[in-house]
């Protein structure tokens, strides 16, 4: 199964039951953006729960309402989550998010894509 989708904030690629979400450059993620990002992710997944690889390397800011939304509504239908980061900025963002929000599935941050995918495969089999 191969599907792709794109909106203002991100590109979604669905391959072999693994969803890649690649955030675009220069967007401040606020609540409205978070709602669109989550809505489109769920549409792409068609109701199936799956591991998600979130490439946040180009993100520079996610505000609190957006973080809270990602932690609640935004974690539906996610089996495991790997953040792809580029230190130091996105390292701080992902560490802060994971340190202040409750996440009920396996989650980790990586600078290497292959490692991230390996983590997702391992934690969902």
């Amino acid at each position: 199964m191969n599907t792709s989708h794109e909106n203002k904030y991100a590109v979604y690629l669905l391959t072999d039951n693994l969803l890649h979400v690649i955030y675009k450059k220069d967007h401040m993620i606020d609540l409205e953006a978070a709602q669109i990002i989550v809505r489109d992710r769920m549409k792409v997944q068609e109701g199936l729960s799956m591991p998600v690889l979130c490439d946040i390397r180009e993100i520079r800011m996610v505000n609190k309402p957006a973080r809270d939304y990602f932690a609640m509504e935004g974690s539906l239908l996610v089996k495991a989550l790997a953040f792809l980061i580029d230190p130091p900025v996105t390292d701080v963002i992902s560490a802060f998010y994971l340190g202040t929000h409750l996440v009920s599935f396996p989650t980790a941050s990586f600078t290497d894509k292959a490692e991230a995918i390996a983590f997702l495969k391992e934690s969902t089999t």
Binding site: D26, R60, M61, R67, D86, P87, P88, V89, T100, L102
Partner: protein
């Protein structure tokens, strides 16, 4: 000079100083770079947001203990957007002299992103004789900090009906000054509906109640044990759990469970094609009628109406 490390470090110091004074409504413009200073700015903004949220939360949940001080920011603009009046607090918060504010175009105080929003909204506002709306805007202070807040913006005709004016204002919370005496004290005192808390919570109790909160969030599809059993399981008593939870989260344990289940169900109903039966099951409702009833009670219409 702009965006050099020296400049950014100064802004970070300024922001920390404001936080130390109890002003959590400022923020810093995030840098487009990916370096250590940029990561510090991001972190500081997020820490500040978390403190601000917990402070307002406490303010409402335990208002009698939290000295709150309201700061009002107000501008009166003419139809072109030139500032005709700004209250004194506004000029001190923005670290600008009143004479520098009066006669200035409002967009000069806004960040680049907000400028666009303002220009678009201003035209819409002035089309009508009277209009009232809310616009989220970012104001920059003289020291380069940002105040991000939703402003009430009202457009009206002056008395002789010849000119249009715009009033924009917002209220910020600060912890820096205690309750005043007299009128202000009365105005800010939360009365009638709030009673003194029934239980005094220790740090350990608060941790325990947060644990219950997290447990509910993680197990929305499961039924909760009886409150008494849940309390025993958490090593406390029913009384403390019941009133402590309400004190921290403003609602009862079971209402909170239903509220979170419905929130999850609403998102699934809106954005997936899963059947309502599956969604009801996933979110812990016993049957579709039960789910529909609870949903309608909260959102005003049954879940099926979101699918049409």
């Amino acid at each position: 000079m702009l965006n050099t490390d020296d400049f950014n470090v100064k802004r970070i110091q300024q922001m920390l100083m404001e936080m130390a004074r109890g002003n959590f409504f400022f923020s810093l413009e995030p840098s487009a770079k990916n370096d250590n200073v940029a990561s510090l700015i991001v972190m500081l903004n997020m820490v500040n947001e978390e403190i601000r949220a917990s402070f307002v939360h406490q303010g409402f949940a335990r208002a009698e203990d939290t000295p709150q001080y309201l700061v009002q920011l107000s501008f009166l603009l003419n139809a072109e957007g030139i500032i005709e009046m700004a209250n004194q607090k506004t000029s001190s918060l923005l670290s600008r002299l009143p004479k520098d504010l009066i006669g200035t175009h409002i967009t000069e105080l806004l960040t680049k992103g907000s400028r666009k929003i303002w220009q678009k909204k201003q035209q819409q506002l002035l089309k009508k004789e009277y209009s009232d709306t809310k616009i989220p805007l970012e104001l920059t202070t003289g020291e380069g900090l940002i105040i991000r807040k939703e402003f009430n913006v009202t457009c009206f005709q002056d008395l002789d009906g010849t000119h249009q004016k715009i009033l924009m204002d917002t209220v910020l919370f600060s912890k820096s000054e205690p309750f005043g005496k007299g009128l202000w004290k009365q105005a800010l005192k939360v009365s009638k509906d709030t009673r003194s808390p029934k239980v005094r919570l220790s740090q350990k109790d608060i941790r325990m109640i947060r644990g219950v909160h997290d447990m509910i969030i993680n197990n929305l599809d499961n039924d909760l044990p009886k409150l008494k059993d849940l309390a025993l399981q958490m090593g406390t008593n029913e009384f403390k759990l019941k009133y402590g939870f309400k004190q921290l989260y403003g609602t009862s344990v079971f209402k909170f469970l239903t509220q979170e289940r419905l929130r999850k169900a609403k998102t699934l109903t809106l954005h997936t094609s899963l059947s309502l039966k599956t969604i009801a099951h996933m979110t812990g409702f016993k049957s579709i009628p039960h789910f529909s009833r609870a949903f309608k009670e909260k959102y005003g219409s049954p879940p099926s109406s979101l699918r049409k």
